[in-house]
Structures are given as C-alpha cells and as structure tokens.
C-alpha cells in the first residue's frame, strides 16, 4: 500500500510542541507510521494571527493540523509551502491554494475577550468553489486552550466530511512503571485523544486493568488489585472519588457500562466459574447471564443496549458470542481463526476484536452480514481495541521496541500512528464517549 514512513510531529511542528511537552508531564508522544493514501483531502490550515498577549500559547492551527492529519482523511499543506498566510477572509487569495491543490483552507485569529476568556475566530473556505463555507468563534478559559483548538477541528471535520469530529474526546489508559520490580507502579491516566495533557486518575503498587467509560464520560470503571485480588472500582474523573462496587470471591472484572449508564456488565467467578453478570447500578442487584462451565468473559454492549457481545471458550477455543438480553438467546458470531476475543460492536453492527492468525495477535474488523474479516494492524501482540465515538478510528495496545505502546488505526486500516510514553509501558486504552469540554463554563 504505502511505504511506511516515520516522522516525528514534534520536529514538524517545531518548538511549540516541544514546549507543551515540557510543561505537561507524562504526555504521550505521537509517531505517524502510515499516513493514509486513500486520497486524503488537501487542506491549508494557515497559522493563526495571534493576539499579542497570547504569543506564548500554541498556535491553534498546529493542533488543528495535527488532529486532521491523525484522522487520516486530511493531508494538511506544510507551512513552508504556503504562498500566503491570510488570517481574515478578505486576505484569502484562492489562486495561492489552487496552485497547491488545496480543496479547503482554514484561516483565523486569536483574541483575549474583555471578559478574560480566550477566543479563536476561524473561517473555512471551499477553494474550487471559491466561497466561504463556515465562520465560527470558539471561546474558553486559558486552561482550555487545547479544548478550543480541538473544537475547531471538530467543526471543520464535520463540515467537510459530514461526520461528527471526535477530537474533543479523551482517552483513559493504564501506565505501568518499573514493572517486574519491587518498585512497580500502575496508574490510570487520562489524556486528550491526541495524547496531550495526560493526568493521573489513580495510582497503585498493584496492577490495574480494563478501563471503561460511563456514557456521560463523567466516570470510569476499572479493575484494581489494590486488595491483592481483582475488584471493580467506579471512579469520578472530575472529583476522583472512588467506590468499590464488586469484590466477591474470585474474579471481579471486565466492567462495561450499558449505553444508558444504568447497568454495568461484568465478569464474576463467585459461583466457581467466570460468568457474565449485569449489575443494576441503582440498587446493585445482579442478573447472571451465562451458565456454562467454560470461560465466559469480556462483555460489551451492542450500541442499542439490547445485546451483550462476549468471549467464550465453550467451543474449545476463545470465540465471540452474542447474547440477546430479552430472550437469553446465545449465538456464536466469529468463525475465522482459532482465537477471536474482546469484541466491540460499532454503531453499524460490525465488530472489531482481537484475532489470532498463525500465532500472531492482530486487531480485526468483521462485517456481521457478510462474515468478512479484515485485519487492521500489522504489529504483533495487538490487543484492547477501543473505538472512537464517531467510529472513524480505533485505538489499541501493542508492543514496540520492547515497550507497551498505544496505536491508532483508522477503521479502514489506511492510517496508523503510535502513542508511546517516555514514562513506561502504556496499554488498555479506552476512548471516551463524545464530550463537550467547553460546555457549562
């Protein structure tokens, strides 16, 4: 397909990125591995005219350019190649962008409002049509500067593709440091979807795993070994208040919030064998879903909340099954390969899951209707796929250079980038639902 090429965005986008990395501890790096190729849309994201009092801030155009690049659907034009740097509509010369093959151009400026809040006003142009197709002002507090830029990305992306942008989302993941030593440290980290602005939600000397988000993106559920046995904890990501909600004998694991947020699917082995349960979060009652001497685990919900997709080795090897909640009707849904597990269902009913082929673990996509399996990743030991709320990308965990890193791949497999951490091994990414960080100011 494409010649794999590696470029450090930090080098591309200069000292601003380096500065922000230095200021924000434990930020994930970004390395583009394979940059699209299926005719990405050429777009000019012009450096914004910065208000004098905001000169030390990152140019939002850099953040927007990065976001659009990582989507795989856009190829922003390098700044050095730009023939002009307009910041206002009347300064845009369409010929300058036609020559470069740009289909769209984004220009804008930043300002400090009398109220103290910061604003980005931007204009989106259709170059072949020679017309302005969007004018927006996005405002926020100084600590929301990156949120403002991601919001611009969301608006531009949606205007051009018709699909809601997912750049204002977050990811939660597990960071492991000094693993295998007596100084081992595990933490749940939360960062922007582009890996920036990471912060620690919870830290422990015992392992942590299986992070998942509530549908309102206010809470996460995960498995903690802090009591030296696996138990399920729900934590508020704003107040950081924690509550242990399942600590039965045996395994308490694989929590997944229902789409309406009222129930938590989980795995308990309190009756002697791992089975799938639903916990009603208002009264903590449990409903057992599976009854099988095999391993039943890794429940996830269909987007309509009517079915549970799970992993079972009842047929001898791990395969993905579906259970209809109204009838308890169970059926196997994966058939290619001898190891298919930890499936997530997309809004269109298709699945992504961990798929073993010739001993190698990849992330695969399966069309539910046609039973077509497409392997999306090329690395080994790939696991924990988590789909962006707009369904365009998925994040997963893999190994590179002896370290656990996060990877991102577009759902069509055309774009790949990596998010390693200089702090340790990172894994088990959980992509948040849609959120509006700028709302409710």
């Amino acid at each position: 397909m494409n010649t794999p090429r590696v470029c450090f965005t930090a080098l591309l986008f200069g000292w601003f990125t380096l500065l922000s990395c230095a200021l924000e501890a434990r930020t994930l790096d970004t390395i583009v591995i394979d940059q699209g190729g299926r005719n990405p849309i050429k777009i000019g994201v012009v450096p914004m005219r910065m208000d004098a009092t905001l000169a030390s801030m990152v140019d939002p155009a850099e953040i927007v350019g990065n976001d659009l690049t990582f989507s795989g659907q856009f190829a922003p034009i390098a700044r050095d190649n730009m023939l002009s740097m307009p910041a206002r509509p009347e300064e845009v010369i369409f010929r300058d962008w036609r020559i470069l093959g740009a289909e769209y151009v984004v220009v804008g400026q930043t300002a400090r409002e009398p109220t103290g809040s910061l604003a980005v006003t931007f204009f989106l142009f259709d170059v072949p049509g020679q017309r302005q197709i969007m004018t927006q002002k996005v405002t926020g507090r100084a600590d929301q500067w990156r949120d403002i830029a991601h919001k611009v990305s969301d608006l531009v992306y949606e205007k051009i593709t018709g699909v809601r942008g997912a750049f204002s989302t977050r990811i939660a993941y597990v960071l492991a440091q000094n693993e295998g030593t007596t100084r081992a440290r595990y933490s749940i980290e939360m960062s922007d979807a582009d890996g920036e602005r990471s912060r620690t939600i919870y830290s422990s000397s015992e392992p942590l795993m299986s992070v998942s988000w509530s549908p309102d993106a206010r809470r996460i559920a995960y498995v903690s070994f802090e009591t030296r046995r696996p138990s399920i904890v729900i934590q508020d990501v704003t107040t950081l208040a924690r509550e242990r909600i399942a600590a039965f004998t045996g395994i308490n694991s694989a929590p997944m919030f229902s789409p309406d947020g009222r129930q938590l699917a989980m795995v308990l082995s309190r009756d002697g064998n791992p089975e799938i349960y639903l916990m009603n979060l208002s009264d903590r009652t449990l409903r057992r879903l599976t009854r099988n001497p095999a391993i039943d685990t890794e429940p996830s919900w269909s987007p309509d909340g009517k079915r549970i997709i799970f992993t079972s080795d009842r047929g001898g090897k791990p395969q993905v099954y579906s259970l209809e909640l109204a009838t308890n009707f169970e059926e196997r849904v994966t058939f290619q390969g001898d190891y298919n597990a930890r499936a997530r269902m997309l809004d269109d009913g298709n699945l992504v899951f961990v798929h073993r082929n010739a001993g190698i673990f990849h992330i695969a996509w399966q069309d539910m209707r046609r039973d077509r399996v497409v392997v999306l990743t090329r690395t080994n030991l790939d696991e924990s796929p988590s789909v962006a709320p707009n369904g365009a990308m998925l994040m997963y965990a893999t190994q590179a250079r002896g370290k656990g890193i996060l990877g991102v791949v577009s759902i069509d497999g055309s774009v790949k980038y990596e998010l390693p951490s200089s702090s340790g091994d990172v894994r088990e990414p959980a992509w948040s639902p849609f959120m509006e960080p700028l709302a409710g100011r």
């Binding site: 030296r228 696996p230 391993i295």
Partner: protein, 176 residues
C-alpha cells in the same frame, strides 16, 4: 470437553489418593506445630525432635532434600493441566497442609502476555484452581486454600519470547 475435564480431575484425584496411601505407609514426619496438635489420628507423637515442616520464612521445607519445597508450577500454553512431574511435590504440599490445619495458602495463577487480558485473568484462575482441586482432592480442607488470578498482570520475566512466556505461565503456592 467438560467430561474430558471431569475425567482429568478424577485421574488427578486418584493419583492423589495413591500417593497419599504410599506416603502413609512410610514413616511419616510428625506434626511439628505445637498449635496444630495432631488433627490427623494416624500421626503418632515421637519423642525426638521431628524435622521441621517450615523454614524461617514460613514456607515449606522439602523433606526429601531439606531445602525449600518447590512452590511454583508451570503450565503449557493456553492450558491449565498440571504437569505429571509436579504431582509428587504437590502431594507433599497436600500432606503438609493436612497435618498443619492452621496453615493457609494463597495460590496465584498467572499467564503469559499472549491473548487478551481478561481472558488471561480467567485462564489464570483456572490454573490456580487446578492446583486447588489437586490439594482438596488429596484431602486438604478448602478453607485452607485461597486462589487468586493475576492473569498476565504480574509477569515474572518481562521478555517477549518463548523462554519468558514459559516462565510466566505459572501457579505459585504461598503459605501464610
């Protein structure tokens, strides 16, 4: 598959019984713990100081060598069957626990990194339970045994090759 597992379990149980029988005929080291006075009616107190069952670290001593008794048992890839070579040592653990009813053990089950984390958590529990089943079928009270799975979360060897993986697929018996 289930019946196969059941058959295995019965086979393990039988081996356990046979070994218990053999051990019973030999001059069995007596209970050293003063706080766990002969719960088993077959043991007869001997005047001379018997060999200690446990070392200073609280972990068991191998009566055959006088050194530490092996507490780590390895498994094949994606399997939770005990290896035949480990059964003799597990039988010694069963005897120790049967005559030291005040002692409890935690059995940790672990996996290598291949496969999904949650599936491995379940597989690790199967491995811990394989050891637990052997011990209980050999006469140890279930209340003396606690099993916990760490899945692939606590690798002994951080490597990413077969030698590391084979060291990580294990169950560890720790005395409390």
């Amino acid at each position: 598959m289930f019946t196969e597992r059941l058959t295995n379990l019965i086979a393990i149980a039988l081996v356990g019984l046979v070994l218990t029988g053999c051990a019973g005929k030999k001059s069995q080291p007596t209970d050293a713990g003063a706080d766990t006075v002969s719960a088993a009616p077959t043991t007869t107190p001997i005047e001379s100081a018997p060999p200690a069952d446990f070392g200073a670290d609280g972990q068991p001593i191998d009566p055959r060598t006088g050194g530490p008794l092996n507490r780590t048992f390895y498994f094949d890839y994606d399997k939770s069957d005990l290896r035949p070579a480990d059964l003799a040592v597990l039988e010694i653990h069963a005897q120790l626990l049967s005559r030291n009813t005040g002692k409890t053990v935690v059995i940790e089950g672990h996996c290598d990194e291949r496969g999904t984390r949650e599936y491995n958590l379940a597989l690790g529990e199967r491995r811990a339970n394989a050891v637990k089943s052997f011990l209980t079928s050999a006469g140890v009270a279930a209340s003396q045994i606690e099993s916990v799975s760490y899945g692939e979360e606590r690798a002994e060897d951080p490597g990413h090759d077969e030698s590391a993986w084979s060291r990580n697929r294990r169950a560890i018996v720790t005395y409390r």
